[in-house]
């Protein structure tokens, strides 16, 4: 197998020059795309270097989850929807319009990995070629292949892009798995894209997309049955008070924009709608709350990871050490009772282990 081969980038040659994380962060702040790209790689890989990137970029951004003093926090937009809804084409055309309005957008495009090999074919750039040409920064991410999983990697990557001065930062995922939906919905504004002809509105409902949507785009709206999907959506939104299918803590009814991504119809309106949404969030005082909520959930992801990493390791040790050597291996005791006993042992060992981990960080 070929998974060897690549060494970890301890010291980081970019353009043949070895740079530290601090230097990369400084270069990224200056807008250097290559430094941004390398920092994204480091975050994706996880480990001590990722932690260093996280800390340096966090403090460079002003160290608060809300608007920072230098205005570097970007409008983070999640985009999700069923496969084949035309999300990539839509995002590409929309971003080009933002470039024309003087923005500097970046896109994180998430594609599924093969569950068997961890490899992935990331194809979103094909439909985003015009956006690349217009200067949009695009990074493809596989759902697997990150220490700590997508939920841990993406917020860190978003922060690197904010550091690089990109705004807005769009996170695009296929809305099929819970992880993908969660990742896209960890945003200031969440756009759900549906299309006519595939029972999309109903599918979106089933996939739990209605609960996360701030806005909808009905793409391919030049099709004859576009009116149907729009009507289905309106109906579901009418009933959302009863069914509970709506985004929590928001009273505004999500707006619906009709688009034809391939010809550009509706993309200007979509750009307006997302900007308006940010302004409204801010005015209603919800933006800060949302960002704090994201911050909390990111803390939680890190915590989960830390605990999982250490417990996985320690539990294996306990099972092997205690049960195999016969100390606790009395069949007279129920498995549940043995586990309770081991849990106390585990708690002690974890304290020591985590002390070590935190110590290493310093």
């Amino acid at each position: 197998m070929c998974r060897g081969g690549r060494r970890l980038p301890g010291l980081i040659p970019v353009s043949g020059v070895v740079r530290s994380v601090a230097e990369l962060v400084a270069a990224a702040r200056g807008g250097e795309r290559r430094a941004v790209a390398r920092l994204l790689t480091l975050v994706e890989r996880g480990g001590a270097l990722a932690d260093e990137v996280a800390e340096r970029s966090w403090s460079a951004l002003g160290g608060t989850p809300d608007e920072s003093a230098d205005g570097r926090r970007a409008h983070v937009i999640g985009v999700t929807g069923p496969p084949g809804a035309g999300k990539s084409t839509l995002v590409a055309g929309w971003m080009i319009r933002l470039v024309e309005r003087g923005c500097r957008p970046a896109v994180l495009a998430v594609d599924p990995s093969s569950p068997l090999t961890g490899g992935a074919i990331l194809g979103d750039r094909v439909r985003m070629a015009d956006a690349t040409a217009a200067g949009v920064f695009i990074r493809s991410i596989a759902t697997r292949g990150h220490a700590g999983g997508l939920a841990l990697a993406v917020p860190g990557m978003v922060r690197v892009l904010e550091l690089g001065g990109f705004d807005p930062v769009v996170v695009e995922t296929v809305g099929v798995g819970q992880v993908e939906v969660d990742v896209a919905s960890a945003a200031d504004t969440v756009l759900v894209v549906v299309t006519p002809g595939m029972g999309d509105a109903v599918q979106a409902n089933k996939a739990g997309l209605l609960e996360v949507a701030d806005l909808f785009a009905v793409n391919k709206s030049d099709r004859p049955d576009a009116a149907d999907v729009r009507r289905d959506l309106e109906l579901m939104l009418d009933l959302s008070g009863l069914t509970g299918h709506h985004r929590e803590g928001v009273n505004d009814r999500p707006s619906i924009t009709s688009t034809v991504a391939t010809t550009g119809v509706g993309l200007g309106e979509l750009a307006d709608a997302t900007e308006t949404h940010l302004v409204k969030l801010s005015a209603a005082g919800i933006l800060g709350a949302r960002r704090e909520e994201r911050w909390r959930s990111e803390v939680r992801s890190h915590l989960d990871r830390l605990l999982l990493d250490s417990s996985h390791h320690l539990v294996n040790g306990l099972i092997r050490g205690s049960l195999m050597t016969g100390d606790a291996a009395s069949y007279g005791t129920s498995p549940a009772a043995v586990a309770r006993g081991l849990a106390l042992l585990l708690a002690e060992q974890m304290t020591e282990h985590l002390d070590g981990v935190v110590e290493d960080d310093r």
Binding site: M1, C2, R3, G4, G5, R6, L8, P13, S15, G16, R33, R34, A37, R38, L40, T41, E44, R45, G46, G47, S113, S114, P115, L116, T117, G118, G119, A120, I121, L122, G123, R125, V126, A129, T132, A133, F137, I138, R139, S140, A142, R144, G145, H146, A147, G148
Partner: protein
């Protein structure tokens, strides 16, 4: 043999090699490119697939933004002596130290010229999955 989640997806010690895969030039035969994309995926790599009709500029944008380890370009139109060296040169001009692997119909007698031009590997029609993966791994390893 079962694998832990880290071994399968986490790549704690061996992050997946990232390959930008593109067809340079106008020709639309993408069978080979697609087969190679799947071979590399099945070899555990992350393939950033650009597909047909790319230029050296679009490939460089992708290599830079995706922080790719290797560029794989395919051509079936006898343009390898023009396009291969041009790709290597364009990457070098952009300051990107990323090896280039070429796939396509390349006569043996052209190999020395391509090696001189800095092409890291050449894959002909009928290269096996193992050869394709090994070639890309070797190219990634050749990187400083």
């Amino acid at each position: 043999m079962s694998k832990s989640p880290e071994e399968v997806g986490g790549f704690k010690n061996h992050p997946p090699i990232r390959v930008v895969l593109a067809k340079l030039g106008l020709d639309g035969h993408d069978r080979g490119l697609k087969v190679v994309a799947r071979m590399l995926r099945d070899g555990g790599m992350e393939v950033v697939y650009l597909g047909l009709r790319q230029t050296t500029e679009t490939i460089i944008d992708a290599v830079e933004q995706e922080d790719a380890d290797v560029v794989g370009i395919s051509m079936l139109n006898a343009g390898h002596l023009t396009l291969g060296p041009r790709m290597v040169g364009a990457l070098a001009d952009a300051g990107l130290d990323v090896p280039v692997v070429i796939g396509g119909i390349v006569p043996d007698e052209d190999l020395p010229a391509l090696v001189d031009a800095g092409v890291a590997g050449v894959l002909g029609p009928g290269a096996s999955a193992d050869e394709v993966v090994a070639c890309v791994v070797a190219a990634a390893d050749s990187r400083g």
